[in-house]
Amino acid sequence: MATKVKSAAPLSFIAILVGALVPILFAIAIFTDGYWEFNFNTLSDLGVSYNETAAGIFNWTCICAGALIAIYGIGKMLLKSGYDAANGLILAVGGIFLLSIGIVTENYSEHYIFAYCYFVTMAIAILVGAAGDVKNGRNITVAITAMVIVIVLAAAIGFNIAGLEVVSVVAMCVWIIAQGFSLSFSKA
């Protein structure tokens, strides 16, 4: 009789894919736009770029990445328990906020509410994830979380909100790749 075994491999693949592709696609959108400037323009400015290709790349990246993060979070919530399940639930909510950022562009005032909610939710997800990692003795993931937090805090001191946003997004991508690898090596 064949027995069903729960596998975290598809979820890990989703996390690694999102973490790797989002910075690349944002970079493509920035180069397509041509006028976007670090520490002066926010990433959301790309969503209402004069260049429709750049705007399309940014908005569709947010929508697809948000949906994939939500799927990853829900899957992790169902697969794990305790802190890890809570981390999955918060990530799923964060994914929905990211999806909303892609749909509700900067032309609408609600965009900023979704953007702030996304960053706050991801910050909570990182802290809850760190608690789960410490509890389960996943040293490498804890170390990467510490690294990400230090880099974001330094950026908060040295840059304004536009620069901080870019550094935070890249740091989140590194963190989510680490989470993906951690999930693939953990026992489901």
Binding site: G137, N139, M147, V150
Partner: protein
């Protein structure tokens, strides 16, 4: 006392090389004016953490094995911060990040963990 594993020797060697690289960046960042002090300080911070990691890989490590991993990650973080604030050449930063990643994995290996926990003084 068992012989020191090669992973610890590798970690220590790379951490020292990382610290020397950060020190060279620090010297290059100094422009002769006091205004360059914060930039020099960022490189100094990266160098100090790399030296701390090298010390953690010594025979009588002063910290637990997981702390070595976290310190290695912090050495990566400070190298990246130095590069973000134009205090370090991006190529030097990439090399230091590679050294930090290898130190992180060396610190997480079972042979290193066992040796550190067996010989730790504090």
């Amino acid at each position: 006392m068992s012989a020191m594993p090669n992973t610890m020797k590798l970690g220590m060697a790379l951490a020292f090389l990382g610290a020397i690289g950060a020190f060279v960046s620090m010297a290059m960042a100094w422009s002769g004016f006091v205004e360059s002090a914060p930039i020099v300080g960022l490189d100094m911070l990266a160098a100090m953490v790399f030296f701390a990691v090298a010390g953690c890989f010594s025979t009588y490590s002063p910290v637990k094995a997981p702390t070595v991993v976290v310190l290695s990650a912090l050495s990566i973080a400070f190298s990246v911060i130095a590069a973000i604030f134009n205090a370090m050449n991006p190529i030097v930063c990439i090399i230091l990040v590679a050294f930090g990643i290898i130190c992180m994995f060396c610190g997480n290996l079972p042979s290193t963990k066992d040796y550190i926990d067996a010989n730790r003084l504090v």
